[in-house]
């Protein structure tokens, strides 16, 4: 049987998903179901003086109205920050209470105040209008940069500062900067974006009074995490009485890793009223209350020698984490950001200092790439500026500072096991026809357009694990992954994974791996995920971890199956275990024609006997059945890397930027399915270009979200893009037996700096993201003025 790993197997899940047969949380309905509608704060910051539900309770169809007072009475715990960060001075981060329904204060527009539960959604929404909340409006803190000098939001959190974190060595950096020929400085804004998963968040909780069990259907990338948080922290139900199912989920991009107030409230309310409670976000609620991404203000400096050698790097960043510390809100701007901030370079000295501030805006959490796009944007725009100021080619300065020996001990944290940064940049330059750029630039100029080229060489640390490391750094959970491989008696196979697919194509790629390992046709393998009652505990999908961590667990569980299969085959074939070999789904006794298929072994394991005589095919002491579980905790992160080259054309009359050519060369180690990987890269690039050119979350000075619909929030669309030229180089990872590295986030990490470097190259002016038409037009105008003054 030919190996499936490496082949372009079409996605098994697409048939149902593309023909409208997917089953999403909103598709789940229970008998006697009620509908929840949340009363949300219209103010960015206010004291709640009184919540009066008297009139609303009399509205037709209302079953129950619950408020923050009920949450407090029932001792339902608050939402949590999942990662503990310490400040440079050794003090713990400061985190405000975050009750699922606000009790005394509201802290962003969209904050949850009460829930109205009624027989129909219309009735719930109608009654919500009669919930009278008496607010004392307070001055909102909105601006990231100014947050520390604004009104104090929480009485125990001075300067609105969650933590002031340092990674690296200030003294060493100072020394390095003293030796520099030149210091390159840059000020950047990493714009806040709204995740905009295609499927809005939703929850449907059903309480069974007989078993006292809650079943929660929800839009989650990580159902086990939802269960443990809702049990252990919110105290809604013990873990063994809470089943969380994340069925088909329409995208997450990080925003669905952890439970929100709505899931907690629906589960709690369902138990309270003993009826199912369903909630589906409308699009406006998604804009207001999904955790947002990015939102950094950064000043960075690079110390260089005149020949382009890097000596040191410093990074001073203010990260806006919104009104509350969300589950991964504190790690995203620290350990997911700082270690990658020195990029793919040898950097003798470096530090990253991050001040995380609270503001009266929606919480900010992980969003595709989480911290690594922010890091890459900083270093890669700075390196490009260094090249400009030193008069060097941007490719040359990068090549000069790439490490060439692996494993490479990166400056701040990571020991990078494998990579070849020179190879990917060389290939990218070749595919992109880097040399031909000047000619294309002249052709654009003839049409009145400004053409620019931008590079980005990136690496990132993903495949998020190993548990002892992440827990040492403050993570509240382990980050291994589980797999259970279950042969059914008739020879087909169900593989349970603790990771979760919400667009990544696990049904296909994981089945390819299991098919290769077990020698079973891919059609006979079912991948199961997303139900805490079905498979073993797992940690879900984010941080480009599922294949490197979860895929490996599948390999390891298959190894155990094969080991047992050998023992059983040896008994059945009357041979020594050591003489039994396994390949292509057959156990063969060496130097003989004696063999059993894996299906026959499975059958024998489940039906271990013979008619007419007492005879077991199982060796003595061997248990019946054929099912194995593996928990895999890798020894290291995985470190994908690559080089992207972008070309843009700017129309100086209107400032519009068009991406006209885009090349991406990535090293993801071993590739299981190029078709799926290319899809991931396409999506990542598009999201990154979206951030660079179009998307921008905008709050006004009072904290109202101006971009709360697609009328004002610009999503990138298919007609914004050219065909992408994709290619790969391969240095297999050494930290997992498949040799794979994560690929889900790379596109979103590499593309923003590649695009912005191209825009800045075209117009000759430094600007921050997003490079919207008006911003670019203004920059072009200023250049025109400067030029005419000079003339």
């Amino acid at each position: 049987m030919a190996s499936l790993v490496g082949s372009r197997v079409e996605r098994k899940e697409d048939k149902k998903l593309l023909t409208g047969r997917g089953k999403y949380t909103a598709d789940v309905n229970f008998v006697n179901q009620t509908f929840a509608y949340f009363v949300r704060s219209p103010h960015a910051r206010a004291q709640i003086k009184k919540v009066d539900i008297t009139k609303a309770m009399k509205a037709p169809g209302v079953v129950s109205i619950l408020t923050g007072a009920d949450i407090a009475n029932d001792k339902i715990g608050g939402l949590i920050a999942g990662w503990r960060i310490k400040s440079e001075d050794g003090s713990d981060m400061k985190v405000p209470a975050h009750p699922p329904l606000a009790n005394e204060i509201v802290n962003y527009v969209g904050d949850h105040v009460a829930v109205v539960i009624a027989d129909s959604l219309d009735e719930a929404r109608n009654a919500a209008e009669f919930v009278k909340v008496d607010y004392k409006i307070l001055k909102a803190v909105v601006d990231t940069k100014g947050a520390m000098d604004s009104d104090q939001i929480y009485k125990d959190i001075p300067k609105n500062l969650c933590f002031d974190w340092l990674l690296g060595d200030r003294a060493k950096v100072k020394e390095a900067f003293e030796k520099a020929d030149k210091i390159i400085k840059i000020d950047l804004i990493n714009n806040r974006v709204i995740p905009n998963a295609m499927e809005p968040r939703a929850a449907n909780a059903d309480y069974n009074p007989s078993t006292e069990e809650i079943t929660l259907y929800t839009t989650s990338q990580n159902p086990h995490l939802a269960r443990i948080i809702i049990s252990a922290f919110n105290g809604v139900a013990p873990e063994n009485k809470l089943r969380v199912i994340a069925p088909d989920v329409g995208g997450g991009f990080g925003s669905k890793i952890y439970p929100y107030a709505e899931e907690v409230v629906c589960s709690w309310a369902a138990k309270k009223i003993e009826r199912p409670v369903k909630w589906v976000a409308d699009r406006t609620e998604s804009f207001l209350s999904d955790c947002h991404g990015r939102d950094h203000v950064t000043h960075a400096e690079l110390a260089v020698k005149n020949d382009g050698t890097f000596l040191g790097f410093k990074n001073e960043t203010i990260a806006n984490i919104g009104a509350y510390a969300s589950v991964f809100g504190t790690v995203t701007p620290t350990y997911l950001f700082g270690p990658c901030a020195t990029g793919v370079y040898k950097m003798p000295a470096a530090y990253t200092n991050v001040k995380a501030v609270f503001t009266n805006t929606a919480p900010v959490d992980a969003y595709r790439g989480a911290g690594r796009p922010e890091a890459t944007y900083t270093i890669e725009t700075l390196v490009e500026k260094a090249a400009r100021e030193l008069g060097m080619d941007p490719a040359e300065i990068r090549m000069k500072n790439f490490p060439t020996q692996f494993p490479f001990q990166q400056t701040l944290v990571h020991s990078v096991d494998s990579g070849d940064y020179v190879a990917s940049l060389n290939k990218a330059m070749e595919v992109a026809d880097y040399k031909g750029f000047e000619k294309r630039k002249r052709e654009s100029a003839n049409k009145g357009k400004l053409r620019g080229i931008g590079l980005c060489s990136y690496f990132e640390a993903c495949g998020i694990a190993p548990s002892p490391v992440v827990m040492m750094l403050g993570c509240g959970i382990g980050l291994w992954e589980s797999a259970e491989v279950r042969f059914n008696p008739t020879g087909n196979v169900t593989v349970f994974t603790g990771s979760h697919s919400h667009g990544q194509g696990h049904d296909t790629t994981f089945a390819q791996i299991a098919a290769d390992q077990l020698g079973v046709p891919i059609e006979n393998i079912e991948i199961s995920h997303g139900d805490t009652d079905k498979g073993p505990f797992g940690y879900g999908t984010y941080g480009s971890r599922s294949l490197t961590v979860g895929g490996t667990a599948i390999v390891k569980a298959c190894d155990k199956i094969i080991a047992k299969g050998k023992r059983v085959a040896a008994k059945m074939l009357e041979a020594s275990v050591d003489d039994v070999e396994f390949s292509n789904g057959e156990f063969v006794v060496a130097k003989s024609n004696k063999k059993k298929t894996i299906g026959e072994i499975a059958f024998a394991c489940y039906l271990p006997g013979t008619y007419g005589e007492v005879k077991s095919p199982l060796p003595e002491g061997e248990e019946p059945g054929l099912k194995e579980t593996s928990f895999f905790d890798p020894a290291n992160f995985s470190f994908p890397a690559g080089s992207h080259i972008c070309e843009v054309e700017v129309d100086p009359d209107i400032g519009e930027t068009k991406v006209v050519k885009y090349t991406a060369i990535d090293d993801f180690g071993t590739i299981i399915n190029p078709l799926v990987v290319e899809g991931q890269v396409h999506g990542g690039i598009v999201q990154g270009i979206g951030q660079a050119l179009y998307e921008n979350c905008h709050y006004d000075e009072t904290g109202q979200l101006v971009t709360a619909s697609y009328m004002d929030y610009t999503m990138p669309r298919a007609d914004n893009f050219p065909e992408f030229d994709l290619g790969f180089t391969c240095t297999p990872a050494t930290s997992n037996p498949l040799g794979t590295k994560g690929c889900g986030e790379a596109g979103a990490i590499a593309s923003p700096p590649a695009v912005m470097n191209a825009v800045m190259n075209a117009i000759g002016t430094e600007i921050s993201m997003p490079a919207t038409a008006e911003k670019v037009w203004k920059a072009c105008n200023q250049n025109k003025k400067k030029n005419s003054e000079a003339a």
Binding site: D122, D653, E656, H698, Y710, Y713, T714, E774, W777
Partner: protein, 261 residues
């Protein structure tokens, strides 16, 4: 969504009779339905006029193109007669919204709504349109009164819009990258005795830019546009485009339209 009474009118007379201060006429529903769903508007009565046959259809004569008010954008975009008589009008219809909107939205709805960023009002101004209602004929110049405001009275229904066929014309817009409504749209039409330069998106209501029109009447070329100073005073300013930027765009897109004529 608040509940309402739904009426399907069999003719204009009946539709007008049912109408009141708390009713709305429904044709394509591309604005009305989302407004109701978002809670921005609520009506006691929704009067559906889609079924009234006399309101739909395209008639082209030697001098004018007359389009029934419930004619869909897609019908205008695909009409051979319109393409021949006023190609820019068909092109405008083809560029409205997206396929879903073009398959539902109607010309009468667009004109009656008078969204400051809508495309059709600029065509009405540039092409000296006459708005035929169930009670009178209104010249476009007098029809568009202000933001979402028209000369229509309560119960008055647009029956058709009649455009004069110009010597040449063209419409160019810069679509908002988010909503794809016009940030600025400029419709230039050269008639026998005059030139109109209708601008949408830039101010609270569509208008005829007299300075550009005068300059182009004297010299119909893009260099004539260059010489006109466009003031940003009174122009819209929002997160997508400042007044200053819009003023620039009026000029740039007026030039593009003249060059494409």
């Amino acid at each position: 969504m608040k509940t309402f009474n739904y009426h399907s009118a069999k003719d204009v007379k009946e539709a007008s009779k049912i109408s009141s201060s708390s009713s709305a006429f429904l044709a394509g529903g591309m604005t009305t339905i989302p407004s109701i769903k978002l809670g921005l508007a609520s009506y006691r009565d929704i009067i559906d006029i889609k079924g009234i046959k006399s309101l739909s259809g395209i008639k082209v004569s030697g001098k004018s193109v007359k389009i029934g008010s419930t004619t869909k954008h897609v019908e205008v975009a695909n009409s051979k007669e319109v393409k021949k008589a006023i190609p820019s009008l068909a092109a405008l219809a083809e560029g409205i919204g997206d396929p879903q909107v073009r398959n539902r939205g109607t010309i009468g709805g667009s004109v009656a709504n008078n969204d400051p960023s809508a495309d059709y009002p600029s065509a009405c101004i540039a092409l000296n349109a006459v708005i035929h209602t169930n009670s009178r004929k209104i010249e476009a110049e007098k029809f568009f009164k202000g933001m979402f405001e028209t000369a229509l009275k309560s119960g008055e229904i647009i029956e058709a819009i009649e455009f004069s066929i110009p010597e040449k014309s063209n419409y160019q817009k810069y679509p908002n990258p988010a909503s794809r409504y016009a940030v600025v749209g400029v419709y230039v039409a050269k008639h026998k005795s005059e030139v109109n330069v209708a601008v949408t998106g830039a101010k609270s209501c569509v208008y005829n830019d007299k300075d550009l029109a005068k300059a182009l009447s004297n010299n119909f070329s893009s260099s004539a546009v260059d010489a006109v100073r466009i003031s940003s005073s009174g122009m819209n300013s929002d997160i997508h485009a400042s007044a200053e930027y819009r003023a620039n765009m009026v000029k740039v897109f007026a030039k593009k339209a003249v060059e494409a004529c």
